[in-house]
């Protein structure tokens, strides 16, 4: 079974493209798009990373690895790496966990299932900046209703001054925004679980939670793996709008994740060399992470059934 699959796949390729030129022609649009929007910018970023340049482009100097060495020796960059690790892992785990609970719950709901699903999907339609402003306002210690609630409970909540509070706030906002994404995939996965397996377990006397934990979750392995990779990519790259709206990377760099630092140093501070060097490093991190995930975690994922 496992051996037959690749053989059939290569046979399929040959059967369809005896003439290689057609294949290249069909690939061309995609390659063009990739070159234009990915390879050329990536190469330019790499080149920029070795330059000290005036933003208007009048003057530039080749500085070898100065931008990289300056970054690696800067305490702000080191703290930014640490902040990113905490943020990305926490955000990914929370997002996945809450999405699983919600997917399980809405799958159990019989009446009004569609309405629940619709409501749960709503945050995905909200622009990140708007979502960020919403969270920043709700938890603003001076005027936010939820911050007042926390104060009433005796919690000295102040994300403007306390870095940990700010971190909790951006993790919550970023997770909230991404839960729907995980939720859609998990829901689709749950619907694809063969009903016969569930019924068999039910006949054997397993309750809904046990059935979910023992049968549905293992069968969702590939989905979990995919979502984990996607959550990491989201946390590493797509969250700068939320950080910008909620904390602006502060206080004192407590929520200054790498991608926000790239934006901050490049677009606000106009330090293009350092910003380019940071994006190269960020890309390298993402690459290493993804390779590790595929090498070590994918092994325990079972794609059969």
């Amino acid at each position: 079974m496992a051996k037959a699959a690749p053989a059939r796949e290569s046979g399929l390729k040959r059967a369809h493209f005896r003439e290689p030129r057609t294949a290249y022609l069909l690939l061309l649009p995609q390659l063009l798009i990739l070159a234009l929007f990915f390879f050329i910018p990536a190469i330019r970023a790499l080149a920029q990373a070795f330059l000290l340049a005036d933003p208007f482009g009048a003057r530039s100097q080749f500085v070898w690895f100065d931008n990289f060495t300056a970054l690696l020796s800067s305490p702000e960059y080191q703290s930014s790496i640490w902040v990113t690790v905490v943020f990305t892992i926490a955000q990914s785990a929370i997002t996945l966990f809450v999405a699983v609970v919600l997917a399980f719950a809405t799958d159990r709901v019989v009446r009004g299932r569609g309405t629940y699903r619709g409501i749960l999907l709503l945050p995905y339609a909200i622009a990140p900046v708007i979502a960020g402003i919403l969270w920043a306002f709700l938890f603003n210690p001076a005027v936010g209703p939820l911050a007042h609630l926390l104060h009433a409970l005796g919690i000295p909540w102040d994300p403007n001054r306390n870095g940990d509070h700010a971190m909790i706030l951006v993790i919550a906002a970023a997770s909230w925004k991404h839960i729907c994404y995980d939720y859609i995939f998990l829901l689709a996965g749950i619907l694809a679980v063969p009903q016969s397996l569930i019924e068999a377990a039910a006949v054997d006397g397993a309750g809904p939670i046990l059935r979910f934990v023992r049968i549905v979750i293992p069968l969702l392995g590939p989905t979990f793996f995919f979502l984990m990779v996607m959550n990491f990519v989201y946390g590493l790259f797509d969250t700068f709008a939320i950080v910008d709206a909620v904390t602006r990377g502060g206080p004192a760099g407590a929520t200054n994740i790498l991608v926000y630092k790239v934006y901050q140093d490049g677009f606000i501070n106009l330090d293009l060399g350092s910003s380019a060097a940071q994006s190269v490093m960020l890309m390298a991190f993402a690459l290493v992470l993804t390779v590790l995930q595929f090498r070590y975690i994918e092994r325990s994922v079972n794609y059969d059934v």
Partner: protein, 440 residues
């Protein structure tokens, strides 16, 4: 709301153009002006362009809001690299060096001379023009210049029996603590979003403290920051104490410090004089304003300006530059300056405009409008109060803000934080010096 209104205005303008004789429409030369003014100030800025367009038949200035100051400078850099730059762009004062040494701009004095306009540069208000002069020539047209002042709630101060805020930090501190203790106001002062400008930079100027060597950067690129060795350090300790005691509040993200003041929550608010436009429109309190406080026993000097100027970009046709020069001439005209000063709260550009406003008795009715001019021209300026001129200034300011936040979060002492800010700032300055050696 604003978008809808803007679209409607654009539609109306299009109809107006279509209805006008086509010959005339074709003759008008279009001049693009990118700016960063939003809200009330954005409406006023667009009105400046409309007033100019109505004043003559040869040119049309198209004012376009391109986001905030950071977005505008980014937008113009991207546009310049793609050779699609506008004729005019509004850039914040912090971007002066970036623009000056960019090789992408036409100095305004040169533009005006090339187009045979005789501008009396000496009539420009000194603290404004001085900030933007290089080797005795004005490089960019000042547009919106302001300076921070102390806004206060009259009721709060009267109830506490003070009448008005004290002129020194030491006495003001006592007043604010008392106002809070008596429960007259929930907080003494709201921390402005641009506190680095009002409470650190202007603080240094007013109290005659050096901010950096080489006349705060005016005399060369090899300047080094010094603010970790001055009374900026105890000033930061003071602010931290106020914040800890709840005498000062931070608005934080998602809310504006101005609202803390205009809603009557905080008794004072240190902010730009350009807040006049929105305070007048939004405040439900008995508001007033006065000079910024100074340290006890110090002769208070002039404050320095902030805001933005209009830069002329290279790469356009001579006939377009003739229009640009005509617009610049219009900007500097007394009538426009008086109007602009009165509707926005920004400082008038020229002595003539200031005198014109004064002669109509405007300041008798609106005394707070004169504070900025008086504070800017107070005493004889020293090397410490002429202003600040640093390459990569935005980056330096950003590092300083981060270090201040570390103090507020209790992670560093004020001395440690300002030492670190100076170390980081000097690295940034050396980088700028390396790239632009010999150009200034």
């Amino acid at each position: 709301m604003t978008i809808a209104r803007r679209t409607m205005m654009a539609a109306l303008a299009a109809i107006g153009l279509a209805a006008a004789p086509s010959v005339q429409a074709q003759q008008r030369i279009e001049i693009q002006w990118w700016h960063a003014m939003g809200g009330v100030l954005g409406e006023r800025t667009n009105e400046v362009a409309q007033r100019f367009n109505a004043s003559q038949t040869k040119y049309t200035v198209v004012a376009v809001n391109k986001g905030n100051y950071d977005e505008v400078i980014n937008g113009v850099i991207a546009a310049y690299r793609a050779k699609r730059q506008p004729h005019l762009v509004q850039i914040y004062e912090r971007g002066f060096m970036t623009m000056l040494l960019s090789d992408a701009v036409v100095p305004v004095h040169q533009l005006m001379a090339d187009n045979n306009y005789k501008v009396d540069w000496d009539d420009f208000i000194k603290p404004v023009a001085g900030f933007y002069m290089h080797k005795g020539k004005l490089m960019t047209m000042p547009f919106n210049s302001s300076t921070p002042i102390l806004w206060y709630n009259k009721d709060h101060f009267e109830k506490a029996g003070f009448g008005k805020p004290a002129s020194t930090w030491q006495e003001l501190e006592k007043q604010l603590y008392e106002i809070k203790a008596k429960g007259i106001a929930e907080c003494g002062s709201a921390l402005a979003g641009d506190y680095h400008w009002s409470l650190i930079e202007n603080y240094s100027a007013i109290n005659d403290q050096p901010y950096a060597t080489k006349s705060n950067g005016f005399d060369g690129l090899d300047t080094e920051l010094l603010f970790n060795k001055t009374t900026v350090v105890p000033q930061i300790a003071r602010l931290k104490k106020w914040l800890d005691d709840g005498v000062m509040q931070m608005a934080g993200q998602g809310f504006s410090p101005e609202q803390l003041y205009t809603s009557g929550k905080c008794a004072t608010f240190i902010a730009s004089t350009a807040a006049h436009g929105s305070v007048e429109r939004n405040a439900k309190i008995a508001w007033s304003a006065t000079y910024l406080p100074h340290e006890q026993g110090v002769t208070a000097r002039n404050s320095t300006i902030g805001g933005a100027t209009v830069w002329v970009m290279k790469g356009h046709k001579p006939e377009e530059y003739a229009g640009v020069a005509a617009f610049m001439n219009f900007l500097a005209s007394t009538d426009l300056q008086v109007w602009w000063h009165q509707v926005t709260g920004y400082v008038p550009l020229t002595n003539a405009a200031y005198k014109a406003a004064k002669s109509t008795g405007y300041y008798d009715k609106n005394p707070t409008r004169e504070i900025a001019v008086l504070q800017l021209s107070r005493g004889t300026p020293t090397a410490n109060s002429v202003g600040f001129r640093f390459g990569n200034f935005t980056q330096i300011m950003f590092a300083q803000r981060q270090e201040f936040e570390a103090v507020v979060a209790g992670k560093k002492t004020p001395q440690q934080a300002m030492d670190d800010a100076v170390r980081r700032g000097n690295e940034i300055l050396r980088q700028y010096e390396k790239l632009h050696a010999g150009k200034y």
